[in-house]
């Protein structure tokens, strides 16, 4: 699923890959509508956020695997107080921490689309929504979430 309207107003800091390239495959994946996570070729363990080494077996042999962009809500917050000028007057917005059971329970952060005053339920199933920013100087795509029936 993808959208071209943005959940939060423009003007927040844009994500760019790290200078050493560690997370570049993640951000490239989002541009293609893929949710990529690191996986160790040696021990097959999942890893997120990205590191150069596998924390389980210490192999420097990680690959990037596109995983099914679904999960369940692990925790959440509703933000009211704006701490960035771009958010002034925006009103509340919802952030979710989503656990991916089919990828070693790694967790991803994004916004929960829909009514900002909705009841947010820990454990509820969600699916990813890719939000493209094609007009940015360096185009990027964010990964949000929405409730799944």
């Amino acid at each position: 699923v993808s959208v071209s309207t943005s959940y939060l107003p423009p003007g927040l800091p844009r994500p760019v890959p790290e200078p050493d390239g560690l997370d570049a495959p993640y951000w490239e994946g989002t541009r293609r509508g893929e949710l990529r996570v690191q996986r160790c070729r040696a021990c097959r363990g999942w890893q997120w956020g990205p590191e150069w080494i596998c924390h389980r077996c210490l192999a420097f042999d990680l690959e990037w695997v596109a995983v099914e962009p679904r999960g369940r809500i692990y925790s959440w917050e509703r933000v009211w107080h704006p701490v960035h000028p771009a958010l002034h007057g925006r009103g509340p917005y919802v952030v979710v921490l989503v656990e991916l059971p089919h990828a070693g329970d790694v967790r991803m952060i994004g916004n929960l689309l829909g009514d900002p005053m909705q009841d947010v339920v820990i454990g509820a199933p969600v699916e990813a929504v890719f939000e493209s920013h094609d007009d940015a100087t360096q185009p990027f795509t964010l990964v949000h979430w929405r409730r799944r029936a």
């Binding site: 760019v16 956020g49 590191e51 925790s75 917050e77 960035h84 952030v95």
Partner: protein, 393 residues
């Protein structure tokens, strides 16, 4: 049998602070504030400031020891230490690092200090002015997870969800701090009492934190002077002996993008047992607790991880009556702490622990012999420490 412990070997012999100001209202430079607090701590100890030979701080304090030593005309600098990372989590660790230097013979008289004049620099609670972000912030900032409150709210929500903890538990922590501040003329919120009704009516910052669940931001400086236990006995004040200190965090606490395996935690689940083991004490031995409030939910988890009560008992235990000195079961943040005395990045909590042991607190706990300080919940590394009077040795 030799036991590796700092217990009883080093003491805090002097404490001092500047006036505490609302953020941006300091009348002088941050480094001048630091120097004043250090001189006041030396005066309190009855020590010539030229006897200082080391400094320890945390959270990348901007006032580096070489400059302070030059400004103070110190004959020699022997120890210069910065505790990595962790924001306010380094407060007790800095005391531990200073004490370790004294016990190891690196230095004889070490000052622990923290100075903040946020009007002169970036505030903690606002977004840094950046057009792009990379690394860990790239995973959170574009989604509006920027400030500390936004970074830690989800840990607290998950913990409260797992254990059925109600908002009233957070409220009790805020009310206790504000209550204690009313007896403390140093407190920024002195003369500004907080009622349960005002708490309940206050705006959300980020759920589950209301305005009064969040620390202030302030300007000021605070300092403590440490020397060996032998030397402490010859000085002016009743020494506050370090009984134990521990720092660190759990397995992969810093896994990026909120992937800490022990997520719903204040980060003390491994630190607290080490603290008690080093001190040879348990939670029942502690007379008074100063617990760093970045957010009340972090205090709640800190107290549970230091085993003062179980998570399932939190709703019942966390009431204002239980937390208020002198009669509460667990007097908490008896100077007003980060919520109501001053956000001196937590170092005001160490000073208050010392004053409790001397009987000089604005809200004294009768016959307090053992005082705990818990620094910086939810960050990594965190730290906590136990101080004791002569009777506790």
């Amino acid at each position: 049998v030799s036991v590796r412990t700092i217990r009883g070997r080093v003491a805090v012999v002097g404490v001092g602070e500047t006036a505490y100001y609302k953020h941006g209202q300091a009348p002088e430079s941050e480094v001048a504030l630091a120097l004043r607090a250090i001189l006041r701590a030396c005066d309190d100890a009855g020590l010539d400031p030229r006897q200082i030979d080391g400094f320890a701080s945390y959270s990348n304090d901007r006032n580096d020891p070489s400059r302070l030593a030059a400004a103070l005309g110190l004959p020699e600098l022997r120890f210069s230490n910065m505790q990595w990372g962790g924001g306010g989590g380094g407060g007790s660790a800095a005391v531990g690092n200073a004490a370790a230097a004294i016990a190891a013979g690196y230095a004889d008289c070490v000052v622990v200090f923290r100075a903040l004049a946020q009007g002169q620099f970036q505030r903690f609670g606002t977004a840094p002015p950046a057009a792009t972000v990379s690394g860990e912030p790239a995973l959170t900032f574009p989604y509006g997870v920027i400030s500390p409150a936004q970074r830690y709210a989800m840990r607290v929500t998950r913990f409260m969800h797992d254990h059925g903890i109600r908002h009233e538990a957070q409220r009790a922590i805020a009310l206790a701090s504000y209550h204690h501040a009313q007896a403390n003329p140093r407190a920024v919120m002195h003369g500004r009492p907080l009622t349960p009704e005002a708490y309940d009516a206050s705006r959300w910052i980020v759920e589950p934190f209301r305005l009064f669940d969040c620390c202030m931001e302030n300007d000021g400086a605070a300092a403590l002077v440490l020397v060996s236990a032998e030397r402490a006995r010859d000085l002016k004040q009743r020494p506050a002996y370090l009984l134990g200190v521990a720092q660190g965090s759990e397995y992969r606490n810093a896994a990026r993008g909120h992937n800490a395996p022990t997520y719903a935690s204040a980060s003390f689940t491994t630190v607290a047992p080490r603290l008690y083991a080093m001190a040879g004490l348990g939670p029942k031995d502690v007379d008074v607790v100063q617990s760093y409030e970045n957010f009340t939910g972090g205090v709640l988890m800190s107290l549970i991880e230091h085993e003062f009560f179980a998570a399932e008992e939190a709703n019942e235990f966390l009431t204002p009556e239980n937390l208020i000195a002198p009669k509460g079961r667990l007097p908490l943040n008896t100077s007003g702490g980060n919520l109501a005395e001053c956000y001196m990045h937590g170092l005001e909590l160490q000073i208050e622990a010392v004053r409790q042991l001397r009987g000089e607190s604005p809200n004294p706990v009768p016959d307090a012999r053992v005082a705990m300080v818990i620094s910086g919940p939810m960050v990594t590394p965190v730290s906590s420490m136990l101080l004791g009077s002569e009777d506790a040795l």
